[in-house]
């Protein structure tokens, strides 16, 4: 028995790909099954790889990219090998297709609250390299969090540019502009370009001459941090994969969607030394509110809706 995970980029990005691969490895190890990693496949056609992995005897194919959610179910039907896809809650099929729609919006909301508390200039920025749904929901939740904490804090939203996933220079340039517009905390989402954002934060001074902080998503960049990482909305996908394996064994695969959230710490805010303990305590309290349902955070996936939201919060 083995499971396979397919990712668009190499699993060394301290982000989406790495979290997926690491989680799959952990889940497989826990369940005592073999794991096959197919990484760096790009965003093109992965049907050849899916078919080959199926033919090689994988009993679960995890198609870890929203770009794979058309091809993977098709191959599942063709080869009768179960697949897991992302961002497609409507695509469930018993025994064949399961969905895990991951959104760190709850965590992003907390990150927004944190940013608003910590911002000296009362201005924070969101820089993204593109507008896929999972990022949109986090951008929106972050902005909501900021406004919930303090309506006076300004939120600036900027998308880097065309095909900007690897545009590190663009990430740096746009982030610098956003900092110049007054922001002293940057909430950044991007693949390769997020390293450019990090670089901008490290080398640019805020309006008051102090440090600019960076809030990351999905992964934990602490190993490469130089003291500018304020936090990160870290995802832990392992419980999701573990549940899938369990469901597969229990023959209940494809009957439910998996997700991550604050409740089981599959989404959590990263605590760094830059966060004062009192602030952290407040955030932990807010976390409880979200878990208990006292505070409701609804995901917004649509890019236009996110932009509309940003415009309204900017006023």
């Amino acid at each position: 028995k083995s499971i396979a995970i397919l990712t668009p980029e190499e699993g060394t990005d301290y982000g989406w790909n790495q979290q997926g691969i690491d989680a799959a490895k952990a889940a497989a190890k826990a369940a005592g099954v073999e794991i096959v990693v197919a990484q760096g496949l790009g965003y093109g056609d992965v049907r050849p790889t899916l078919r080959e992995l199926a033919a090689d005897g994988a009993s679960l194919l995890i198609a870890h990219a929203s770009g794979y959610n058309t091809s993977a179910p098709e191959i599942a039907k063709e080869t009768k090998v179960p697949v897991a896809i992302v961002d497609t809650p409507t695509g469930l099929e018993k025994g064949l297709v399961a969905d895990y729609t991951l959104s760190g919006h709850e965590g992003a909301y907390l990150a927004g609250r944190l940013a608003a508390k910590m911002s000296r200039s009362k201005s924070v920025g969101i820089v993204v390299s593109g507008e896929p749904p999972s990022w949109n929901s986090q951008s929106a939740a972050f902005a909501q969090g900021v406004k919930a904490e303090s309506p006076d804090v300004k939120v600036t939203y900027a998308v880097i540019g065309p095909a900007a996933y690897s545009d590190a220079a663009g990430g740096k340039r746009v982030t610098e502009s956003v900092i110049a517009s007054g922001a002293d905390i940057i909430f950044g989402q991007g693949n390769g370009s997020s390293f450019g954002m990090l670089q901008a934060v490290e080398t640019t001074k805020a309006g008051d001459g102090g440090k600019v902080y960076f809030i990351d998503v999905i992964g934990d960049k602490t190993p490469i941090d130089k003291g500018f990482l304020l936090s990160s909305v870290v995802w832990n996908i392992e419980p999701v994969y573990a549940a899938m394996i369990a469901d597969l064994k229990a023959d209940t695969f494809g009957t439910k969607s998996y997700s991550i959230g604050l409740k089981d710490d599959s989404v959590k805010l990263l605590k760094t030394a830059a966060i004062p303990d009192d602030v952290w305590a407040e955030i932990q309290a807010l976390r409880e509110d979200v878990i208990s349902g006292k505070t409701k955070v609804d995901p917004v996936y649509d890019a236009a809706a996110v932009r509309a939201l940003m415009t309204s919060v900017a006023q």
């Binding site: 540019g161 065309p162 690897s166 590190a168 340039r173 390769g192 390293f195 450019g196 670089q199």
Partner: protein, 311 residues
């Protein structure tokens, strides 16, 4: 909302425009030199990538940005050497080799990055700027244009140096002859292959420098595919510029300004889909093409390998 456009923000935008323009400028100037001499250098994207990678490696390990620029230029030259050997000396098809080099360098630099940096993602410290007294005190423009790294001023100076070379030196004459009528240059006693080789190597140096600037100053780090088509934009700028270096500068700046404009519009919260806004730089160049493209006459022997005495 207009309060948003503070002086600091405006000058940051302009600063960003210049930073984005410099790699394009260097690539464009380089490509222009090759084209003048009759070589269509489609491999410039590969040269930039080599420059970006080696430039970063040099700067990172030595801690000196200048050494990084040097190794970056060296990387570009190394790729250009292959191109010169294959396309100038033995006359292989320039488009085939150019594209092959671009693909190869994309793969190679990504590979090297994977083995070397994909766990640590090293980044360079902030860039030292050279402040030009008085001028830098001008509001908005001053901090954007006159607080740049020395290499930026040098790149702009290069524009005028190139203009001087093309119009006022024997070398300029040689280059133009190599592109327009290589046989005439040959019988005048100047080696066409050598002239073109010099041009291609210069292109490599400039493209490599542009790549190094992109990695070291523009991004402060190297990641795979970092050039994102900058080399191809350089080709377009060079062709649009009709042999005049100043026009490469204008074109690169126009492009950079358009990029900053897209940021400005977003920060201003204008609710137009970002994908639409982001077509702006390309639209701007396309409009330039429609307006001025007609006069973009290219050298007569562009793309044709020269062989002495062939007919």
């Amino acid at each position: 909302m207009t309060g948003l456009f503070s002086e600091v923000f405006l000058s940051a935008l302009l600063f960003g425009a210049v930073t984005a323009a410099i790699p394009l400028l260097l690539a464009g100037l380089g490509e222009q030199m090759s084209e003048k001499a009759g070589v269509l250098n489609i491999g410039i994207e590969g040269m930039m990538l080599a420059g970006a990678y080696l430039g970063f490696v040099g700067a990172f390990y030595s801690g000196s940005l200048w050494l990084g620029f040097l190794t970056g230029a060296g990387g570009g030259i190394a790729v250009a050497l292959v191109m010169a050997l294959l396309c100038v000396r033995i006359g292989l098809n320039q488009i085939v080799i150019g594209i092959a080099l671009t693909l190869g360098l994309e793969g190679l630099t990504a590979l090297l990055h994977h083995f070397q940096f994909s766990r640590s993602y090293p980044r360079l410290p902030a860039v030292d700027v050279t402040v030009i007294p008085l001028l830098s005190a001008i509001p908005v423009i001053g901090p954007a244009l006159f607080r740049q790294h020395l290499i930026v001023y040098l790149a702009v100076a290069l524009v005028f140096a190139m203009g001087y070379i093309y119009r006022r030196t024997q070398l300029g004459l040689n280059l133009q002859a190599a592109g327009d009528k290589p046989a005439a240059l040959d019988v005048a006693g100047i080696d066409v292959v050598r002239t073109r080789t010099i041009a291609v190597l210069t292109t490599g140096a400039l493209a490599g420098l542009g790549g190094a600037f992109l990695a070291n100053v523009g991004a402060g780090l190297f990641i795979p595919f970092i050039t994102n088509g900058a080399g191809f934009l350089g080709i377009v700028l060079a062709m649009l510029a009709r042999g005049r270096p100043v026009w490469v500068l204008f074109g690169a700046l126009l492009f950079g300004v358009c990029l900053s404009l897209t940021t400005a519009m977003q920060v201003a919260g204008i609710n137009i889909p970002t994908d639409v806004i982001q077509m702006l730089p390309f639209l701007a160049v396309m409009v330039m093409l429609v307006l001025f493209g007609r006069r973009a006459s290219l050298p007569a022997a562009l793309g044709i390998p020269y062989e002495r005495g062939a007919r």
